[in-house]
Structures are given as C-alpha cells and as structure tokens.
Symmetry: C2
Subunit: 143 residues, 2 copies
C-alpha cells in the first residue's frame, strides 16, 4: 500500500493527526501514522492484541464499517525522552446511539522518532470502571 510521508515534528502532532483520522474514519491517514515496522501493536478495548500493519488496518476497517465514532482525548499525561514518547490519555468516546455509560477508556499511546517523524508503535486502549472525573485517585475499584 502507498504510504504518504508525514513530517510529524512532535508526538503531540502525530497524536492529533491520529484522533483526527479516527474522527473521519480515514484508514489510510490513520495507518500512515504508524511506524513502518511490522512490530507495531494495537489493542482495542476488550479485544486481543494485534501485531503488524495488516491485522491493525483490518481492525480499524471493521470498526469504521460499524459507524462513525468520535473520540476525544482528554487528561493527557506525557513521558518523553529523545527517541520515544509515552502518552497516557483518557478517551471520551461518543458513538451514535450510545449514551454515556459508567465506563471510560484509558489509552497508552507510544511514539518513536523515525526519519519520517514521530510514529505510533503501540496503541493500547481499555475500558475502565467509573466516570472520568477524579479517576486518578479512585483506587477502591481495582480488580
């Protein structure tokens, strides 16, 4: 598949492009943001681990085929060094026909610096109990 070169100068730019591509259900734009490496990892909430471009692309196509999902990353928490960046975000997910429920999504996005800019190597999203506000101190609901 053809991959557009994107000069993403910061991990934040790559992350913004990622959630923008999601909001537009644009698989091509989404996949250009990942590292060319076949070692990339994607974990959707409640779903098994996927490794490699083909499996990850197929998963997003399946998700987009079920309708548009709006994901708003909030409460970003960053760990950064020269070659990698780890973003921990809370995702506010709004799907048509779904009211807000007593769960939210926590996501770990890992970026590495490549000659083509900052690219995604890991996207790990999972459901968490409770509402978003004050989540960092709610330790009573742990498994």
């Amino acid at each position: 598949m053809a991959r557009r070169k994107q000069m993403n100068g910061t991990p934040a730019e790559t992350e913004a492009a990622f959630y923008d591509a999601l909001s537009r259900s644009d698989v091509d734009a989404l996949m250009t943001l990942w590292s060319d490496d076949e070692e990339i990892v994607c974990i959707h909430p409640g779903a098994p681990r996927l490794i490699g471009h083909a499996a990850i692309r197929s998963s997003w196509e399946a998700i987009f085929a079920r309708g548009r999902v709006h994901i708003q990353p909030i409460q970003l928490h960053v760990t950064l060094n020269l070659m990698s960046a780890i973003h921990s975000v809370i995702e506010e997910i709004t799907a048509i026909g779904h009211a807000s429920q007593d769960v939210h999504v926590v996501t770990t996005n890992v970026y590495i610096k490549t000659p083509q800019g900052w690219r995604i190597v890991v996207h790990h999203a999972s459901f968490a109990a409770g509402h978003v506000s004050g989540e960092s101190t709610q330790i009573a609901t742990l498994h």
Copy 2:
C-alpha cells in the same frame, strides 16, 4: 520510603523482577522497580488510571491484601531503543479459587533507562476476550 538500588541491566531483567515481586506479593520489591519519577502510570484491568508512587503502591497493597495472585507473562513482544523499551505481554493469571475463564490479560510495560538501571514508567494491563492461543489473528471480536 527507603528504596534499594537495583542494577537492572536490561528491561527483561526488570520485567522478570517485576513478575517475581508480584508472585511474592512483595510491595517493597515491586516499587523499587519503578522510575523515581512521579509521572509513572499504572492501569490495572478494568480500573482507572493511577499516577505516582503513592497511588500505585496503595493499589498493589490492596490487590495483595485479597490474596496471592500468580501471573505468568507469556508471548512477549518487544520494541527497544537505546533509552526505552516497550514490552507487550500476555499475562496468564491464576488466582486461588478462580478457574480459567474466557478472558486473558494483555499488558503494555514501558521501561526507561535510568542511572539505576531500567525502570518501569508504565504498566497498563487490561482484559481481552477469548483464550490466549492465536490471539494475534483474532480480529473478529473487536469492539
């Protein structure tokens, strides 16, 4: 709290020490493996995001208070550069009184190189549907 210096020469050594500390319910040993940075992140399956040593330590104490849990990391998948390492592992969890269920745990462990050796900065564990075997190609169960 006193922290023993540990010379963990590789991310794999730190990870082995992490799961060893878990198997012994040893909170002190467990917490020495994390970066001294207060920006550390821990997400237990189904639970909200925790940030910082105090919240993370309390969460493990609460887990250990409920009984011993044996976690066996399998199917390790590694992305490594000079300063950081991202380990994607499947966790086989065996708790007393719990039979094997139709879920497994997928975990992203992120390590950074510090003067004291490789330390944990992110532990993100979440439940995934289905059995472990062949999980990397099971894309039909995606959300």
